[in-house]
Amino acid sequence: MKELANVALNAARTGGASYADIRISRHRDQAVHTREDRVQSVSDAESFGFGVRVLLDGAWGFAASHRVEKDAIADAAARALAMARANKAALRRPVELAPTDAFMDTWRSPVEKDPFAVPVGEKAELLLAVNAAVLKVQGAKYVNSFMLFRNEWKLFASTEGSVIEQDITRVWPCFTVTAIDADKGEFQTRTAEVPPRSAGYEHVEGANLVELAPRMAEEAVRKLTAKSVEPGRRDLVLHPTNLWLTIHESVGHPTELDRVIGQEANYAGTSFLTPDKLGKLNYGSDLVSFRADRTIPGGMATCGYDDDGVKTEEWHLVKDGLFVDYQTTREQVLWPEYRDARQAAGLPEATRSHGAAYADSWGSIPFQRNVNIHLEPGKKPLTPDELIASTDDGILIRGDSSYSIDHQRYNFQFSGQVFFEIKGGKVTQMLRDVAYQSNTVEFWNSCDAICDERFWAMGATYYCGKGQPSQCSPCSHGAAPARFRNVNVLNTKREV
């Protein structure tokens, strides 16, 4: 493989590139989908190929192919150089890369039990057992369940001397119950709160899916007759299974420096978090600190090195409420907007990337993606029961559902899987038709309590979308249950 990589790097150097890298990667996706008493599909997809990226006079070129052979690699390097050469005609801001050390290393995500070694029949039987447990609950009419297993093996080599091999495995088992009231023509769903994780099959076994099934089914049925929420201002107690997605949308994406500068303007949008706010904006209350992190075990964005070949690390985006940094790649660190903003904020000059580059396949060019971003747990001991006991008029929300935020990340609206009314410090009844709508900075400044680290947990996604052509990236977001005061709650019931 290293010999093949050198074909690309030598061709790029000969062609005049100031920098080049190649990623040779194999992506394997295995999936089992079932519903009720049947297996809908069993699939195992592999994709093997390479992508060559060259930097020529400040312009990127990138070419990729599924044919991992010397002639195809040389041809791709030539095509990448040709694109870079052509792109110079429209280049007004040459790309410069911040320095990184050269690494010769191998990194593997921790896996106790190889999920690909577990027979698909065993996986299907487990899902069918989940389905059977769901369907024993009266009123639970349908159930869809699945397991996804993803392995990403990649060899990165650059003209700066790095040769990095990584092997990352991610796993996600989950199911959704549908309860029907045929007479009323109504239905409700309940999706289990099992997040994807960078792990092996032990994550499936540890999820206790069969044991979880009856409660999910019962809650789906309860939702049919739950009280429709009274809209208005309420305190919210958000469980980590709900809060992770709010963090992703209202903290993750706004702190992406490429969005801030305008590189995503035509698709994902820009960001309200302009450089003048660095070191000045109170993003949240004093309790609120957000840590970006690509090193935490189990994190979906966790890896040894990013797709720029930068060693991964953790850093603060928001510290004690104050906005202190962005997510960056090698290309972004030297942007004058970032340098000037750090200087104006009295922060030390940044010379190294935080390692936020990712490409979702060999055929995709790396760019800046959300890493794992966590709300730090409260520093004082606080249990969820104590948090609820100190809440007079609120709603407890578990699980994620509808999510939407504007293209500069001000106005958001989220829903959840289940909602419980809190009155006088007690959970009283289930509610339905709930969504909460707020603005990012207002919302995080309304946070007045966060449970301690004993109750901290990560939610995650496989499917963060960004870029053109659109790429999917995985990332995790941890939080402990937290309370937000006086948030706008909507009723989503509508007659048509």
């Binding site: 195992d44 429209a90 023509g185 829903s415």
Partner: protein, 437 residues
């Protein structure tokens, strides 16, 4: 990688010869796609990707599984077939097993244009320059994306079914923002024939919208009459189209389910002026001649004069319900009016003109209630003309309600794989304001 029809036939035959399963299907796809991105008035990233996928689905009795890979050497193909067969053997029996299709007749559709297939990698920079230079002269920053390429698909099975087609596609979109970040406009164009793409016109529309959308007035959230441009119509209708699955309706879990059981086929579901159909032979939006299982694509009417005519049936559910399988349509034709968007605006007393929506997500699948936001140009129309820009809104609304209140339509325009009119509706619910520009 594009395989010719004989090459595809040979590869499918080779894979079938390696298989021992009771039934086997092979799906091939591949192609070369080029792209160029620009932003902040400079070219940013680009790509030139050559890809191939070989998918094998094997059945032993009612047990089935699919494996796919990108390598074509003999050893890799043997491993691919073995993986599919090994998984199929241990998969539980599928009570909804449907036998593979016998050979089918396909409509003679070839959505292929040499102009697109032969476009070189230098085109991206040319298009970027054509947007950046006029924008920079007006103190506007532009970000845009051009993607074009050629692809093929083929399907074959042990019963002798064989389908093959080549296709090309080209897409361009551009966002223009004023230098102070207080105005934003967007436009796009797409065609299977890249010679038809008018980049310069799209860029000019985006720049004009950015300039016109500055200094927006704040209107309070509430119910307003609207004119939705085709891009907004496309985004707003998506969840409604995804809900048109017959099985979901028959199972009582969609808007198209009938209270007490069954579905709403034959019932009036939207206004009488709404007719939606699909036709893979329509020349402006040529579709695919067959689906992944080899089912032929055909023209269908989905909603006629507001009455639901048909839902999407897969082969199993169609067989069970005694219906014709439709597969998933590859395009959508929304019948509209006669005039242009400007004519519609000129004939409007009051309305909010919406360029496009953003981040639409489902709130309640029972009513197809969705939430989302306006983006890149909202304008107040009064007495037949655009009067001023309006600040962006979030909305909570259902296309079912809006399609029941359509008061005017332009002629349909090509937008991605649809022909869509601009729609004017008497009521649309905006729920909160957004500070985003």
């Amino acid at each position: 990688m594009i395989l010719s029809e004989p090459q595809a036939r040979d590869l499918i035959g080779k894979v079938l010869s390696l298989a021992s399963a009771d039934e086997v299907r092979v799906n091939l796809s591949g192609g070369r796609t080029l792209n160029t991105r620009f932003a902040v008035n400079t070219v940013s990233t680009c790509g030139d990707r050559d890809d191939l996928s070989i998918a094998v689905t094997a059945w032993f009795g009612k047990r089935h599984a699919t494996a796919s890979a990108s390598e074509t050497d003999d050893e890799s193909l043997q491993r691919l077939v073995a993986t599919a067969e090994e998984m199929a053997r241990v998969a539980p029996e599928d009570p909804e097993y449907v036998p593979e299709l016998a050979p089918q007749e396909y409509l003679p559709i070839r959505p292929w244009f040499e102009s697109t297939a032969k476009a070189g990698s230098e085109l991206g920079a040319e298009v970027a320059r054509s947007a950046i230079e006029p924008a920079a002269e007006r103190n506007i920053t532009v970000a845009g994306y051009l993607e074009y390429g050629a692809a093929f698909r083929a399907v074959g099975n042990h019963k002798g079914i064989f389908g093959y087609y080549e296709s090309t596609d080209a897409n361009y979109s551009v966002t223009a923002r004023t230098a102070d970040g207080k105005g934003s406009g967007w436009a796009s164009d797409n065609s299977r024939d890249i010679a038809e793409l008018d980049y310069a016109a799209a860029s000019a529309r985006a720049i004009a919208k950015a300039e016109a959308s500055q200094k927006p007035k704040t209107l309070q959230p509430g119910v307003y009459p609207v004119i939705l441009e085709p891009a907004a119509v496309d985004e707003f209708l998506a969840y409604a189209l995804w809900s048109m699955n017959a099985r979901q309706a028959d199972e009582g879990r969609s808007f198209f389910a009938k209270k007490g059981g069954g579905n709403k086929i034959g019932e009036k579901v939207v206004g009488e002026n709404i007719t939606m159909e699909s036709d893979p032979t329509r020349k402006e939006i040529l579709g695919a001649p067959f689906g992944g299982d080899g089912l032929p694509a055909k023209p269908y009417v989905w909603i006629k004069n507001g009455v639901l005519q048909r839902l999407f049936y897969d082969r199993y559910w169609a067989h069970k319900q005694g219906k014709e399988p439709t597969g998933w349509p590859s395009n959508l034709i929304f019948q509209g009016g006669k005039g242009t968007l400007d004519d519609l605006i000129a004939a409007t007393e009051k309305a909010l003109l919406v360029t496009r929506f953003w981040y639409i997500r489902s709130l309640d699948p029972q009513t197809i209630l969705v939430t989302g936001l306006t983006r890149d140009g909202v304008f107040w129309v009064e007495d037949g003309a655009i009067r001023h820009a309006v600040k962006n809104f979030r909305f909570n609304e259902t296309p079912i309600a809006v399609l029941s209140k359509v008061t005017g339509m332009s002629k349909p325009m090509r937008f991605e794989n649809s022909l869509l009119p601009a729609l004017r509706a008497s009521e649309f619910t905006f729920s909160s304001l957004s500070d985003a520009v």
